[in-house]
Amino acid sequence: MTDAGRAGLHIAVAAALAVAAVLVLPGALELFALINATVWAAMALLALSLAFAWGAGGILCFGQTAFFGLGGYAYAVAGINFGDGALAVLPALTVATLAAAALGWVMFYGRVGDVYMGVITLTVTLILFKFANSTAGEQWRIGAAALGGFNGIPQTPPLNWPGDPANPLTPEQVFVVAVLCLFGCYAAVKLVLLTRFGRVAVAIKENELRAELLGYDVRAHRLGVFTIGGAMAGLAGVVFANCVFVSPSMFSLAYAGQVVIWVLVGGVGTYVGPMAACVALQALASWAGTVPGFDPNLLLGGVLLAAVLAVPRGLLPTAQDLLGRLRPSRRRPAEPKIAPAE
C-alpha cells in the first residue's frame, strides 16, 4: 500500500471511531463521565501536539503546556471581553501559534541543542506558571477579564454557536466539539506528512546535516513543525477551558511532565500511541487516586521509569514489532518510524 493509501485508511478508521464516539457516548454516559471524557479528549489533543513536534520534527519540548495554557488563557480573556465564546477561539489559536513561533525562532535560529531546548521550553513554561500565579491583584486585568492569579478564571465562558452568545453549548455538544477537534488534528498531521514539508521535516529528524546539505532550510522546517504543534496545543487549551476552567496549573510542571510521559510511553514517532497512552494513563491515575493511601505519582513515575528502561521506543512500536514477528509472511523490517503503521 502506498503511504497516501495507508494514511487514508487510518484517517477513515479514525473518522469512523470519531463518529461512533459522537453518536454513542453522549447518550450512554452520565454527565460526569462525559465531562471527564471531554477532558481526556483535550488531553489527547495535547499529547498529539507533542507527538507531532517530537515525532515528526524531533523537537524535544518539555514545555508543550506553555501553548496549552496560553491558548486557554487567551480564550478565556477574549471570551469574557467579547461576551462570545465562539469569537474567542481565533484569538486563542493566534496567541498560541505566535508564542510557539516566537519561542521556536529563538531556539532554532539560535541553534540551541536538544537538551538545552528541553531546558528552555521548560523554563518558559515555568515563567508563565509563576507569572500567571502572581496576577491576583486587581491591576492584572485585560479589558473586562481579571487574570485572577492562583485562582485562575473560573468565569471562563463556554463555547456557543457562532453569533449566538446567549446560547452556550451543552456539555454534550462540547464533547462533540472536542472529538471533532481531536479527529481534525489527527487527520491534519497525517496529511501533513504526505506533503513535501512533512516529508522533509521527518527527513530532518532522521539526519539534520543531510537535509541541510540537500538545500532544505532545517530551521524553517523545524519552526514550522513546532508552530503547528503549538497551535494544536493551544486548541487543546481551548477545549480544556471549556470543560474545566483556566488556571495557572495548566502551565504546571506536573502537566508538562505528563505530556512527555504520554508521548514516550505511547511511542515517539506514532500518533495513536501517545493519544492512547494519554487516556490509559489518566484513567489509571484517576483509578489509583481512589485507592486509599495510594499516591498516583508513584504509579506514573513507575510507568515512566519502566517505559524508558524496558520499552524505550514506546508501547505501540514495540507491539507492532512483536506483531510483525508473529506474521513473518509480511516481511517489512524496521519500519520507517513515522508515516506508516498505526
Partner: protein, 430 residues
C-alpha cells in the same frame, strides 16, 4: 456573564438513575455506565435512602493543615446526627473528597458531587480560590453550597451560605488591637490570591480609620517558603507591627524565619489566619508565643458548651482527635448544624425549600456560641475572639459577642436581589 444552561430534565433523571449502580471508580465508570444504564430500576420506593452530603476539603498538599481538622469535624457532625436518628428519618451519607490543594480538582469534585452523587448539600472549600472555583459549578447544577471558613467577605449568591467570619468581624478587631497596643505603622504580608489581596485592603482601611497606616503590602504565592529577602525588606521599612494574611503550611515558614532573625521581640506579629489550622502547634513557643489572631472560635474558648463538645469529640475520636485550632474546623461543624436545622424546618431536602427555611432566621447555639444566619446576605452573625499564641495554644484575650457581617451587608441584599451570584469586592478605599 452567561452561565451554562441548566440540565435538561431528561439528563437529570438519567443521571439520578445511573449513578446508583456506579462504583466510585473513575476507570470503570465509562464501561459500566454504558452497559448497565438500561437495566436500572427506579429507587424512589426505598424510603430509607441516605441523604447525601458531600465534603470537599484538602487533606493533603499545602492546605492540609486546615483541611484535616475540618474533615474530622464534618465526619463527627454527621456521625452525631446519624446516632440521633438521622435527618427526616433518613440516614445521612457523607462523601468526602480530597482535592489535594489543587484548584482544578475542586471543579471536578464539585461537578461529581452535583451530577453523580446528587448531593443535597456540599460543604466545601478552604481558600477563596477554591470557593470561587466550585461556587459557579454548584450554582449551575442547582446544588446547595456551604462555605464554612473565615474569608474576605462579599459573596452574594442565593445558592451559597458563608458561615465563617469576614473582615468587618475579625480584621476590624485585630487591627485596632495592633494600633493601640503596638503602634501605628503596619507592614502587611499576605497570600497572593483573592483572599490576601482583598483582606490586605481591609487591613489598610481599618489601619487608616484607626489613625495608623499600612506602610507596605507584600504578596506571596502559596508555594513560597523562603522569606529571607522579605524579612530584610520589612526591616528596612521599620514598621511597628506586622499583620499577616499568609495562608497554608508553606507560609508557616514566615513566622519561623521571623523568629530566627530575632525580630519577634522588636516587631510583634498579628495574623488574620494563624490558628485556622495547626500552625500554633507547628511553631515552637520561641517562634509562636505572642502572635495575636482574631477568629469566631478558638478551641481554648472557655464556655460550658465548648467544654462539653470537646469532651464528646475526644471520646469519639480518641487518639485521632485533632487540634481544632481556630474557626475553620468548628465553623464546618456549625455550618453542618445550620443546614440540618434548615432541612428540619423545611421538612424536605429540596434545595429551594431548604434555602427558604434557612432564610427564615435560623439560629444555632453550639460550642462556638450563638450563630445567626442573616437572610439578606447568607452570612452569619457570630461571636469574635481576640487571642494570643501561648505555648502551642491560644489564650483568649477578649470576646466581642454577636458581630454582624456588616461588610457584606453593605453590598449585598439577597432579599431584594435574589438573582445575584457575584462576589462583590467591597470598595475599601473610602
Amino acid at each position: 456573564m452567561a452561565s451554562r444552561r441548566p440540565l435538561r430534565q431528561a439528563e437529570v433523571l438519567r443521571t439520578v438513575e445511573t449513578k446508583m449502580i456506579l462504583e466510585r471508580r473513575g476507570l470503570l465508570k465509562l464501561a459500566s455506565t454504558a452497559l448497565a444504564a438500561p437495566a436500572v430500576m427506579s429507587h424512589a420506593a426505598l424510603g430509607a435512602d441516605p441523604v447525601k452530603v458531600v465534603g470537599i476539603h484538602d487533606t493533603s498538599g499545602g492546605l492540609d493543615i486546615y483541611g484535616q481538622p475540618m474533615v474530622a469535624c464534618l465526619d463527627y457532625a454527621v456521625a452525631e446526627l446519624n446516632e440521633a436518628g438521622g435527618l427526616l428519618g433518613r440516614p445521612v451519607q457523607l462523601i468526602n473528597y480530597d482535592p489535594q490543594s489543587n484548584i482544578q480538582l475542586y471543579t471536578q469534585f464539585a461537578t461529581q458531587a452535583a451530577t453523580r452523587d446528587r448531593a443535597a448539600v456540599v460543604h466545601a472549600g478552604i481558600t477563596s480560590a477554591s470557593r470561587e472555583a466550585i461556587r459557579p459549578v454548584l450554582r449551575r447544577y442547582n446544588t446547595l453550597y456551604f462555605y464554612n471558613t473565615q474569608y474576605e467577605g462579599g459573596v452574594c449568591d442565593r445558592n451559597s451560605f458563608c458561615t465563617g467570619s469576614t473582615p468587618a468581624q475579625n480584621v476590624n478587631k485585630l487591627v485596632p488591637y495592633v494600633l493601640s497596643n503596638w503602634g501605628k505603622r503596619i507592614y502587611v504580608v499576605a497570600a497572593d490570591y483573592n483572599y490576601g489581596q482583598i483582606t490586605s485592603k481591609w487591613i489598610a482601611k481599618y489601619a487608616r480609620e484607626g489613625g495608623g497606616e499600612a506602610v507596605a503590602v507584600d504578596f506571596f504565592p502559596l508555594d513560597v517558603t523562603d522569606f529571607g529577602a522579605a524579612i530584610k525588606k520589612i526591616q528596612a521599612a521599620k514598621p511597628d507591627a506586622v499583620v499577616s494574611a499568609l495562608v497554608g503550611g508553606n507560609h508557616v515558614g514566615f513566622y519561623r524565619q521571623w523568629a530566627a532573625a530575632g525580630l519577634k521581640g522588636s516587631v510583634p506579629v498579628a495574623s488574620t489566619t494563624l490558628g485556622g489550622g495547626n500552625e500554633s502547634l507547628l511553631l515552637t513557643p520561641e517562634e509562636g508565643n505572642g502572635i495575636v489572631s482574631a477568629f469566631s472560635y478558638f478551641q481554648e474558648v472557655d464556655t460550658p458548651a465548648n467544654t462539653a463538645f470537646l469532651a464528646r469529640f475526644r471520646a469519639k475520636l480518641g487518639a485521632r482527635t485533632p487540634y481544632l485550632g481556630a474557626e475553620l474546623a468548628m465553623r464546618t461543624y456549625t455550618g453542618f448544624q445550620l443546614w440540618a436545622e434548615g432541612v428540619r424546618r423545611a421538612g424536605a431536602i429540596d434545595r429551594m425549600k431548604v434555602i427558604e427555611a434557612l432564610e427564615s432566621g435560623i439560629t444555632h447555639e453550639g460550642p462556638a456560641g450563638r450563630t445567626v444566619l442573616d437572610p439578606k446576605t447568607h452570612h452569619a452573625t457570630l461571636d469574635v475572639h481576640l487571642a494570643r499564641v501561648e505555648n502551642r495554644g491560644f489564650r483568649v484575650l477578649q470576646t466581642f459577642p454577636q458581630q454582624p457581617p456588616s461588610d457584606t451587608a453593605s453590598v449585598c441584599d439577597l432579599a431584594a436581589n435574589p438573582g445575584s451570584n457575584q462576589q462583590h469586592v467591597v470598595d475599601v478605599r473610602t
